[in-house]
């Protein structure tokens, strides 16, 4: 059966619409069941839903595989670090950490510290991650990728995430932006929507 049909959407639906459709269908089928196991007939329907959802999401991600841009990747990274980055993207955090630990301390480059900072951040060891991110910047201060990550951690440390909360809830921003655009369009045709603007 067509995965889009199972979720009740079309191929032109956005990613967000797909996720919303999945949640709605999952709730319809399970009734919000809170347990690790389901009755067999419902479990079968949920498996079908999951297969459809994963199929669509993976195929869309597959189309975007080459749009990943490592902005500011300087120099020639050896194949080892390229592999590590791929494994990191795939979510194999334990494997990445193990591979990094196998490099002796005197051979650890800025890239080593950056990827270690990334994997510890993914694993929730934020204190350790911040230290390693700083080390990466100390070793290679010209790499924008390293400094972007460290700057993000420092911004969060200073409370910058509160701004993210406000801009995620940007209904007022959208309204002001819309009115401001409307006013400009009106003025360009000789009229005026908002006289004081």
């Amino acid at each position: 059966m067509d995965p889009y049909e199972i979720l009740g959407i079309t191929p032109s639906s956005t990613d967000e619409e797909i996720k919303i459709a999945y949640r709605k269908r999952a709730f319809e089928v399970t009734g919000g069941h809170m347990g690790e196991e389901l009755p067999p007939d419902i479990a079968a329907k949920v498996d079908e839903l999951n297969a459809a959802y994963d199929n669509i999401i993976d195929s869309r991600r597959g189309n975007n595989a080459y749009s990943y841009s490592s902005t500011g990747s300087y120099g020639n990274y050896s194949q080892f670090y390229i592999d590590l980055r791929q494994k990191l993207r795939a979510g194999n955090y334990d494997e990445v950490e193990g591979m990094l630990q196998s490099i002796p301390e005197n051979e650890r480059s800025g890239e080593w510290y950056y990827i270690y900072a990334q994997v510890t951040y993914k694993k929730g060891r934020f204190t350790e991650s911040a230290e390693y991110a700083k080390r990466a910047c100390d070793i290679d201060s010209t790499n924008p990728e390293y400094s972007d990550f460290y700057r993000k951690i420092q911004a969060d440390a200073a409370g910058g995430y509160r701004q993210t909360q406000i801009s995620s809830s940007d209904e007022c921003c959208k309204l002001c932006a819309f009115l401001s655009c409307l006013d400009c369009c009106c003025e360009s045709t000789g009229n005026d929507c908002i006289p004081c603007c």
Partner: protein, 270 residues
Amino acid sequence: MYGKVRINVPEIKVREYDEYKGIYCSLCKILGKRYGVLARALLTYDLTYLALFLLGLNGSCVFRSGRCPFNFTKKCHYLDRKSPELEFCADVTVILAYHKLLDNIHDSGFWKRILYTLIRPYFALKYKKAKKLRPDICNDVSEYIIAQQNLESQKCSDLDEISKPTAELLGKLAAYGEFNTEIKLNRYRIGFCLGRWIYLKDAIDDIDEDIKSENYNPFVLKYKISDLSEKEKYLEEMNAQLNITAGAFIDALDEVTFLQFENIINFVNL
């Protein structure tokens, strides 16, 4: 009501605040229905947030009005659908509260210890009921308690390590009942970050008391704080640790889609 996870009320709509209150009134009601009137006192902001999170994921929430059984002048809103999410939160509330009670019996002074010991048998019965309904959650909570106690007895000063049991427990609670692998991981991460934040916030707030009573405190050990004046020196760095966790939590929220209450869930007071 206890709990660290509060909503930044000025930033949400009035309707949304009513919805939030509706959720905790509904949780209070279900606690009373499932575990008796005294269990209503166990209601916390933290578990209310978990309820908000789980209900927001599933949506289909409508509210009907009613009255508060303890204050007839107060109008309440109650969730008007069957809610396994609230039942789950009620069970978790009782399980966590009972363990906290045992902790309090162990740590308190003479008179408080007598009081807690007197109410223990009543809550032990409620815990027994919750354990029958959620044996897996009880296991997780027991494991978390043991891990926490071990780390504290070893005088662990590594913030990542000491906050891990709470983080992992809340990760499991947030991911509970999810049947899609990828979404489960994303929900786990949200719970993990929040659990870590709750633990570190508790630890920072308790520094003064822990110095006086010489109780375990990871920040006191890590920064070797011997008195309150020294605490001021390290306050910025300690809050930085808390804030980095909060930042990761806000980022993690983006990875999951909510059908309702997204704005309220977003505006946690971190």
